[in-house]
Symmetry: none
Subunit: 215 residues, 4 copies
């Protein structure tokens, strides 16, 4: 037979994994650029350099693929957050660090914002029943709760702060600014992504949040 000898099984397996990873990355980019409704399976295949049929082979359909992308996306940011090792810092430093990280992560991963928007446009139906996602996210809240508790105990933080509320606020302050930066820049006639504007935003957010949590 004219075909080259098949690669050893481990390598074949790796190819399969690699294909899935390549598809996921391509899908993430496409969904991020065009939203769920605007994304095209054809383009995802093209981006991945793989046959369209293969996407269906691995991910069943477009919705499931989007869900896989979402899960992977959450997994990534939560892993990065874990690496911050916030509990090793003084409470105020930990809060500041979290704000800085969130801001920088959103800046570095604009796809995160659009993917979340898409997920929410569709009422998070892609997350329903995904226990994995909840498990992924609870450690962050637990950590933030611990930080707030420590701050309260050492007298630096005010009491009664809900870690979920605080996390949502920290995320929202960066998220809205960046997610809507095009609209806001057009509306206010001012480039919100210019370097100076960025650093001013970060300062503002840190002052705002610390001004609140510090007693």
């Amino acid at each position: 037979m004219p075909r080259a000898p098949a690669p050893p099984p481990e390598e074949k397996l790796r190819d399969a994994d690699r294909s899935q990873a390549v598809i996921l990355a391509a899908a993430r980019d496409e969904f991020a650029e065009s939203g769920l409704g605007g994304a095209r399976m054809d383009r995802i295949a093209e981006r991945a350099g793989l046959n369209k049929r293969l996407i269906y082979y691995y991910f069943e359909d477009k919705e499931k693929l989007f869900q896989a992308v979402l899960e992977q996306t959450y997994l990534h940011i939560r892993e990065e957050e874990r690496k911050l090792n916030l509990l090793a810092l003084a409470p105020a430093d930990a809060v500041r660090r979290l704000i800085e990280f969130t801001w920088q992560y959103y800046l570095d991963h604009p796809e995160f914002l659009t993917l979340l928007n898409s997920a929410n446009l569709h009422r998070a139906r892609h997350l329903e029943g995904s226990d994995r996602v909840r498990e992924m996210n609870s450690p962050l809240i637990a950590t933030l709760g611990e930080i707030l508790e420590r701050g309260r105990k050492d007298g630096s933080f005010r009491g009664g702060i809900d870690p979920v509320q605080l996390y949502v606020s920290i995320a929202g302050l960066s998220y809205f600014y960046l997610s809507n930066s095009h609209t806001l820049s057009a509306i206010f006639g001012r480039d919100l992504l210019a370097p100076k504007a960025r650093s001013e935003r970060l300062s503002h957010m840190v002052e705002l949040v610390l001004g609140y949590v510090l007693r």
Copy 2:
């Protein structure tokens, strides 16, 4: 919007104006529910109770229709904000009032959030070159600037606060919570839209912002 709304000569709108208004309302709902990519011209026509062809007659194509919806949407919230008459209040009350209004408006008009998301997914290309939108939005920032200035002068507010930053923060705190409420509820396993959760959120936002602006 292709035609300036002429004042109706009689007590009833002319059919043409009425049709355009009906189409705009239907389009707003459809775009809000499904996003730009997911919206269907068929469904917009059906919602409007009018022939699909008429939409093209008045609005040229889907993109232009979306743009018209966006402009009308901004127009509405800015008008409502103007009615608040914030400059008649004491600075701290004005800020609190703006937070409360923003929160309540987003709650009452969930379509505002999704429309903005869609606009941003498409990098605000629907607003580019729309001078009208900038003109609509600048008075709000001017008002907020005046409030901050008054507060600083009477000694109640800290100085150096950029009204654009503050506005973005106020909006973002409500926006993220509500826009992502489905995702967040799923993630944190807690219904963020329950009445109690809502009022807690509002308190949190007011405390956060006032804790920052008040000297």
Copy 3:
């Protein structure tokens, strides 16, 4: 009543005629540019500066309008031919004159060519049953027959020439060259509409036809 007094009846009538004429001219241009299938009633109305509904009022539908354009077109060329007063010329001069006229008329009225093409694409169903068209065209053949007969009698022309065949040949020699000039120019890599090319073509045609009819 707030309306200006109606214009006197003759002027009104003239307006009606004028509108019809304007529509016909607009339709002729549109059909000539885009063919029957590609012509748009909207564009015809726009070209005419009149309401689309009026076209239907006067011409019933697109097909009938095309038919009216065709008839008017034939009427025009046959009238021009009649003005040549060919019977006042010597036979050979008359034939030469007819060739020159045909060539120049097609050059001046490119719409004539495309209208004919459209009519033929649709198998002349727009002319069927149009007695007017036959009546219009028979005088030309009669005239040409008379010229051939005179030439034969005075010994300058060969005998046995069918005037219909000759007319078709004269028309075809100009028609194909001009009607297909774009295609032929592309094919032969040579601009067939350049001034020199034109005069060469006319010489060629005259030589070809006179070389045949002259004994």
Copy 4:
């Protein structure tokens, strides 16, 4: 044509090639019957017995499909002309043979006429930049030039005849008669496609052209 026709590895065309060929044939018929504007993609698919989507898969859009049909059409007539092997005949016989062939080809392939008409209605924009078409057509002119040259040298033909002019005349004499046969039949009240009329036309054309080229 999007793909060069690969020689089939087995005796049967591969499905892809066969599908493309079937689509081309169906498109040729539909365009010939209805023109470019009047042709319907649905009907082409139906004629081909294939899914409409497949047409777009292979030919991108209607315009490109028309272009592919045009190229194939030229290819065919030029191939048939080449098979005539005109250079093996005496000059006068060669000219007569070309006239006869052209006449018969147009009779046998009425679609050739309407396709050309459509192409010219659209100003040959489908041929622009198609080097292939020019390459296809130049050999014919070269051959005709050689025939004229031989005739001149052996004293039978007059000199100074431009092969392009002669070719255009030969084509035009048949083309106009057949392309406009419906219109002309209606106009002159005489069936130009009856057997007797046909043979008279052929005689007329041969006499006309030979009467010119022969010294």
